[in-house]
Symmetry: C2
Subunit: 456 residues, 2 copies
Amino acid sequence: MQVYKFPYYFLGSADTKGVEEKSFVLRGDILWSAEPRRITTLENAYLVCLEGRSEGVFKELPREYAQLPLREHRGKLIIPGLTDLHVHAPQFAFRALGMDKPLLAWLEEKTFPEEGRYHDLAYAREAYTRFVEEVKRGPNTRLCVLATIHGPGSLLLMELLEESGLVSLVGKLSMDRNCPPYLMEENSEGALREWLDAYTQRRAQGGLANTGAILSPRFFPSCSEGSLKALAEIQREEGLPLQSHLSESRDEITWVRELCPQSPHYAGAYEDMGLLKGPTIMAHCVWPEEKEMDLLAQRGVHIAHCPQANMNLASGIAPVRQLLERGIPLGLGSDVAAGTETSIFRAMTDAIQVSKLRSLSFPQERPLSLEEAFYLGTAGGASFFNKLGTMGGRDFAPQKAGSFEQGWDLDALIIDDSSLVGGTTLPLLERLERVIYLSDDRHITEKYVRGKSILP
Amino acid sequence: MQVYKFPYYFLGSADTKGVEEKSFVLRGDILWSAEPRRITTLENAYLVCLEGRSEGVFKELPREYAQLPLREHRGKLIIPGLTDLHVHAPQFAFRALGMDKPLLAWLEEKTFPEEGRYHDLAYAREAYTRFVEEVKRGPNTRLCVLATIHGPGSLLLMELLEESGLVSLVGKLSMDRNCPPYLMEENSEGALREWLDAYTQRRAQGGLANTGAILSPRFFPSCSEGSLKALAEIQREEGLPLQSHLSESRDEITWVRELCPQSPHYAGAYEDMGLLKGPTIMAHCVWPEEKEMDLLAQRGVHIAHCPQANMNLASGIAPVRQLLERGIPLGLGSDVAAGTETSIFRAMTDAIQVSKLRSLSFPQERPLSLEEAFYLGTAGGASFFNKLGTMGGRDFAPQKAGSFEQGWDLDALIIDDSSLVGGTTLPLLERLERVIYLSDDRHITEKYVRGKSILP
């Protein structure tokens, strides 16, 4: 898969401050996953961080790192930070409300009215601050976020995420058909360019080092062909990644077929608009056709599997095993507010659980293992960031994360699981399993993003 | 449905201590459910507790209660305590471990070896204490618990539950076939009678006022016909309730058919042994036949729906809508450790979510609503306790709980949801929905069981 070149947008102004604080050694019980089927574990070992990047994990500390400050976390777990590949920041305000409503009523009564409020920057600041604070406390270190159609509000969200220390891609939504008037853009392309200009300006001022822009057509039915083609053009010019929704429910698929009868399937409709050419995340993919999966594999489209949404919206269970077997890149999304919880630990267990239910109907589709779910929530999801390429600051490339391989960004969680383990002694892998199923933000004692400790 | 008479076992020695502390008024935002489809809400209202029982909820405090101490919880939610209708106390020690294993491997590698340890009272005390502490901190106030085959360990669990202030029914398991040698009882009937005698003695000494005994054949395949018939005889003599497992997986149903070819179905196998005649809880019921449901309805058997177990063990999703429509009494179970979490809030949301997935395959089976899930986790599950009848202490009968109807035991949770609501104002029902989906033990500021505050 080719690395996509980004001429100037996104992540990477040389962040030279704090280089020294970003070089240290962590000692503890270390677990990470560089491939889907295996979690590597090392008890009482050393994870070396040099200028924000991992130098690897060592049973004995190599002499050349002996001068680095040692941060002692003996008895605690050290694991990579988690990546949320699909989350709607403005929907956090009404998460876990109206969950019984059918999708359409939920959109009309909850989602759209709430999203309509983000033209008001004071409101946006208040609501987005709550969202960012929650994510900051939890186990996620990277996220791909959908905002609203409002450029200034979306930029504000970027500033707040940047301040938090989290790494994120944020998308101002594009919407110009099939939506309520207060969310319908008159000039979708113009609004997008305006937001991107403002973002570029902030970057030129040295801000937003950890926060990138991502094109975000809400989903096919809410964007006119004209605006989708303009998005493709902007993507070609600017080299930006793109995120949207794909094949979540059967009704939606029928709708896309009506809107775009000449396209072979839903993904084909995006393809026919000239999209899917850059790094792309599509959320859901619950009902893909065979040839649609072929296209997704060919284009290297990342699928954000959102198991909570699969259940809460009664969409169906995404055929994750099929996607994996075809080599389609996969990560996990909280999909707040179709999902109620931001933590990707919860998405891991939900993904395992729904895959077990799916295997009852499709016995040839083996359920996800703990190892696979952990991989998807760490290196699997974070691999989207690997595709963004070199982008100005040499110190930022290649932005790999989600594991502790040498040279990767050091995103790590320190987890005190003593209250979960009780008095017993468990193997590291079982301690991790219990953390995934049962931990909450109380168990996270420190959180590093790109080598920087971000918890107060 | 007839109230079953209990000659002397179970709950109800006159607990005259603390009568005064058990008479008071709670003020707050009060919600409760006396029927499946409706949650009643009253903002800034009064819940009157007289000697441990509810006198009802009032918008204005009636003059006759004006002298009672007022406990101020303005702005907080006051809801009934939750009932866990099916939980394995000894499995708490290995919850959330080995969840990827198939059922048989999980039983052999995790469940049975752990249950084998409870002959050791020191170990049992340590492990059961952790379990009881966890439940005490959480939202459940009543529980129907399966212990192990060990009489002394089961009695110890009863003592610990009694000390906690929770109301419970505890069952020493009966097992005398198809199980590892260290869990195989040589004289299952004798062991059961011995445990019941010890329990009766403790009752005679004035202990265990809130803790009852429940007959607990593990499940049909693990009990010989002789021992099941002896259980039926003991039940007839002693008037005890009974709990077991029913139709959890298709393999298990096939096995029961082989063991008992003359019975029409799994429930019929229990029926043919003379069981199902007293108050009975059967966990799961994922794959019931039509006639099996007729029998369950006829006998008024309570089903403990355990949605986490449905997923984690890949058993399938219980047809809850069908059970409800037939008038089969239903409650929710955590089924720790097939479920990983003890909280019945979690069981409520899981029940809604799996019912949505089921409705995709069975569109005629409407998913559970929030109101129904809340009812099942409160008054629905607790209604099992209503069937236990008068039992010695007049002050205990009829032990109704799970709602705030006049005369019912006052089990209540005080919930500070301010951190969940944020700065916004929400209707009471939406605040409850959010608590159900998102709260944890941090949000429970007080917990009353039978009018007694049990949190430290």
